[in-house]
C-alpha cells in the first residue's frame, strides 16, 4: 500500500508539463547519442550538464537519466544496420544483428531489440523500486568508515573490472583523487596545489574536466586521422517480429533482464559487461550454439535486454548509497551535487519527489523509447549521414559554450582544453578514463570520510577493520588490489573480460 502511494506521488511529480518535456528530450537525446558512433551517454551528459543549471533538479535528473537509458536503445540501431556499434554495450549485437540484416531480417532484429529493451527496462525499474528503499534503510547504519571503505572499494572494483592494465587504471584513479584535492581544503580552509591561480581556489570544476576528457579529447583523437566524410546508408523494413521470433526471444529477454539488472548494481562498465555476459549465457544454454554469429535472434534479444536492465541496476548504488558505479552515474552524481542534492540513504525521505519522480519517469521513458525507436528508425539512419567534419565543430561548440556559461570564466575554458589534451594523451597511452572520472567526482568525499573516521578513532586506522561492514569492504578491496599476485583470481579476471 505504501509502495502504491509512492508510485502515485511519483506519477503526480512526473506528470507536469516541464517534467514530461524533459523526459521526452532526455530519451530523444539519448537515442540520438546512442545512434551516433563515437558519442556516448557519458559525453552527452557531460555536454548537457550545464544546460540543466537553470532547470529544476527533478527535471534535470529525469532528462539526464533519460539520456543514459535512451542511449542503450539507440546503440543497437547502427549495430544491426551497418555493423557499427553506437555504444560499447552494443558491440555484441553486431555479431548476430548485422547477420540478420544481411539476411533481409533487419526489421525483426530492430523490433526485438526495441521490445526486449522495453521489457528489460521495465523489469529493472521495478527492481530499482523494490530494492532501493530497503537498501537505503540498511545504509542508514553506515558511518564515515563504512562510506570511506565502500567508496574505495567502488573505485577498486571499477579498476578491476576494466579491460586494461590494473596498474595504469590505478594511476588514473590516484591522479583523479589528486586533482580533487586542488583548491581550498574543506576543513581547514588552506589552499592546496593552486599555484597562486585564483580560479583554482574553488578547486577544479567537474564540468570543464569532464568536457575536456570526453568531449575535446574525443574530437582530437578523431582529428588526428584525416577527417573523412563518410556517408552511411542503410535500410530496414517490416519491424514486427513474428511468432517464432517471439518464441525464440522470450527467455533470452527474461534471462538478460535479470542478469543485466544485478550486474548493473556492481561498479564497472556494467552495460557492456552485462551484454557480453548475456551473449555468453545464451550461447551456453542454447540447444544449437553453432547458430550464434550467423543471425540468431537470441544473440540480439538477450544482450539488448541485458544492457538496458543494467542501466536500471546502476541507479541503485547511486540513489541509495550516493556512490556511482561507473562514469555515467558519476556524472549523474555530479548533477545531483550541482543542484544541491546529496544522493544517499536520506534521498528517498528528504527528496521523495526526486526519487519517485525519476523512477516513474523511467517507466514512461521506456514507453516513449519504444514509440520513438520503431517508427523513427528511418530518421535515425538519416542522422548517420551527417558527416563527421560537420559534427566535430558542433561538439566543440557545445563544449565551449557549456563550460563558459558556467561561470563566464576563460580560465575554465582553458582548463577544459588542458584536460582535452591530457585525455588525448591518456588514450594514446591506453589509460582508461573512467577511474579518473569516478575518482574526481567522489575524491573529495573519500578524503572527508577518511579524515572524519580518523578523527573519530583519534588517529587509529584500525577503525576500518573493527567495524564489520567496513572490514568486509576493505577485505574485498585488498583482495582485488593484490589479485595480480594471486594466479587463480587473475585468471578469473581474464575469463570475465
Amino acid at each position: 500500500m505504501e509502495l502504491f502511494e509512492h508510485l502515485l506521488f511519483g506519477t503526480q511529480t512526473l506528470f507536469t508539463p516541464v517534467n514530461l518535456a524533459f523526459c521526452f528530450i532526455g530519451v530523444l537525446m539519448g537515442t540520438l547519442v546512442g545512434v551516433l558512433p563515437g558519442l556516448g551517454p557519458t559525453a552527452a551528459i557531460a555536454l548537457l550538464l550545464p544546460a540543466t543549471f537553470h532547470t529544476p533538479p527533478v527535471a534535470s535528473i529525469i532528462m539526464l537519466a533519460g539520456i543514459y537509458y535512451g542511449a542503450m536503445y539507440g546503440g543497437s540501431t547502427t549495430s544491426i544496420l551497418v555493423n557499427i556499434p553506437g555504444e560499447a554495450a552494443s558491440v555484441i549485437t553486431c555479431l548476430d544483428g548485422y547477420q540478420m540484416a544481411l539476411q533481409g531480417r533487419a526489421g525483426p532484429a530492430l523490433g526485438i531489440a526495441a521490445f526486449g529493451s522495453f521489457i528489460a527496462g521495465t523489469i529493472s525499474v521495478v527492481g530499482l523500486m523494490l530494492i532501493a528503499p530497503p537498501l537505503a534503510k540498511f545504509a542508514l547504519a553506515f558511518g564515515p568508515p563504512e562510506y570511506f571503505s565502500l567508496m574505495l572499494m567502488g573505485v577498486v572494483v571499477l579498476i578491476y573490472l576494466g579491460s586494461g592494465s590494473i596498474l595504469k587504471a590505478l594511476m588514473m584513479a590516484v591522479f583523479g583523487l589528486l586533482v580533487g584535492t586542488i583548491g581550498q581544503d574543506s576543513i581547514s580552509g588552506t589552499l592546496r596545489l593552486t599555484f597562486g591561480i585564483r580560479e583554482l581556489y574553488d578547486g577544479v570544476g567537474l564540468i570543464p574536466a569532464i568536457m575536456g576528457l570526453f568531449g575535446v579529447s574525443e574530437v582530437i583523437s578523431n582529428v588526428e586521422q584525416a577527417i573523412k566524410t563518410e556517408i552511411i546508408s542503410a535500410k530496414a523494413r517490416n519491424l514486427m517480429p513474428n511468432r517464432q521470433d517471439w518464441r525464440d526471444s522470450f527467455w533470452p529477454i527474461i534471462r538478460g533482464s535479470v542478469l543485466g539488472f544485478f550486474i548493473g548494481i556492481l561498479p564497472g562498465p556494467s552495460s557492456t559487461i552485462s551484454s557480453f555476459s548475456s551473449y555468453a549465457l545464451e550461447k551456453k544454454v542454447s540447444g544449437n550454439p553453432a547458430k550464434f554469429g550467423k543471425g540468431a535472434i537470441e544473440g540480439v534479444a538477450g544482450p539488448e535486454a541485458a544492457n538496458n536492465a543494467a542501466t536500471g541496476g546502476s541507479f541503485i548504488p547511486l540513489l541509495t548509497l550516493g556512490i556511482p558505479a561507473n562514469a555515467v552515474t558519476a556524472l549523474l552524481l555530479g548533477a545531483f551535487m550541482i543542484h544541491g542534492v546529496t544522493p544517499g540513504p536520506l534521498l528517498i525521505s528528504k527528496h521523495p519527489d526526486l526519487f519517485w519522480g525519476t523512477v516513474m519517469s523511467m517507466y514512461l521513458g521506456n514507453i516513449m523509447l519504444l514509440i520513438l525507436n520503431l517508427p523513427l528508425i528511418g530518421l535515425w539512419v538519416q542522422v548517420l549521414r551527417v558527416p563527421y567534419p560537420i559534427l566535430f565543430p558542433l561538439i566543440l561548440l557545445f563544449c565551449l559554450v557549456g563550460v563558459f556559461s558556467l561561470n563566464f570564466s576563460q580560465a575554465e575554458v582553458g582548463l577544459m582544453i588542458g584536460f582535452g589534451a591530457f585525455g588525448y594523451a591518456a588514450r594514446k597511452f591506453q589509460f582508461e578514463l573512467a577511474p579518473l572520472v569516478l575518482a574526481l567526482v567522489i575524491g573529495p568525499m573519500i578524503e572527508n570520510y577518511l579524515r572524519l573516521s580518523l578523527i573519530i578513532s583519534r588517529g587509529s586506522p584500525w577503525i576500518f577493520f573493527r567495524r564489520p561492514i567496513s572490514a568486509v569492504f576493505i577485505l574485498i578491496t585488498l583482495t582485488l588490489l593484490f589479485s595480480p599476485f594471486m594466479p587463480r583470481i587473475g585468471r578469473s579476471r581474464e575469463r570475465f573480460q
Partner: protein
C-alpha cells in the same frame, strides 16, 4: 617507442615528487585529526610508487603486439595542434571580439580549413553556431554570452 613510454612514466614520477614536496609544506596532522597535507602527501607517495612501477614495466618490455604508434604522423600533429590553438585563441579572444565573431571565426576554421567543407555549408553552420547560439542562449536560456569589448564591433551589434 619505449623512450616515449619512459618519458611519460618519468613525467608522472616528476608530478608525484612535486605533489609530495608541496604537501610537505602543509600541515600533516593537527590536534583535531589529519591536516590539509595528509591526503595529498599519501596520494603523491602512492602515485610515485605506481609511476615508478610503470616506468620499470615499460623499460623492461621488449615490445609486442600491444605497441602501437604513439606519436601521430606529422599531418596529424598539425591538425591536433591547430585545433587546440584555435580553441585557445577563441577562449582568449571571446571577451575582446565577442562570442559571435570569435565563434564564427573558429567554426569557419574548423569546417573549411580542417574539415574541407563547401563554402556554403561552412557559412551556414558557422552562422547558426555563432549568431544563432548567441541569441538562443541570450533570449531563451537566459545565459548572456559575451558581447564585443571593441567599440567598433560592439556598434555593429557583435
Amino acid at each position: 617507442m619505449k623512450r616515449v613510454y619512459q618519458t611519460a612514466g618519468l613525467c608522472f614520477v616528476g608530478l608525484s615528487a612535486f605533489v609530495v614536496w608541496e604537501s610537505w609544506t602543509l600541515e600533516y596532522y593537527t590536534n583535531l585529526g589529519p591536516g590539509p597535507g595528509f591526503f595529498p602527501l599519501w596520494l603523491g607517495v602512492v602515485m610515485g610508487a605506481l609511476s615508478l612501477a610503470w616506468f620499470v614495466q615499460v623499460s623492461g618490455r621488449k615490445g609486442g603486439p600491444d605497441d602501437v604508434a604513439i606519436l601521430p604522423e606529422r599531418a596529424g600533429i598539425l591538425r591536433i595542434l591547430s585545433t587546440l590553438a584555435a580553441l585557445a585563441a577563441m577562449a582568449g579572444l571571446m571577451n575582446l571580439f565577442g562570442f559571435q565573431l570569435a565563434m564564427f571565426l573558429l567554426l569557419v576554421f574548423l569546417l573549411k580549413v580542417l574539415g574541407r567543407q563547401a563554402l556554403w555549408v561552412t557559412l551556414v553552420v558557422a552562422l547558426l553556431g555563432s549568431v544563432g547560439v548567441y541569441h538562443l542562449f541570450g533570449a531563451y536560456l537566459d545565459v548572456p554570452l559575451p558581447a564585443a569589448a571593441v567599440k567598433l564591433l560592439a556598434n555593429l551589434g557583435l
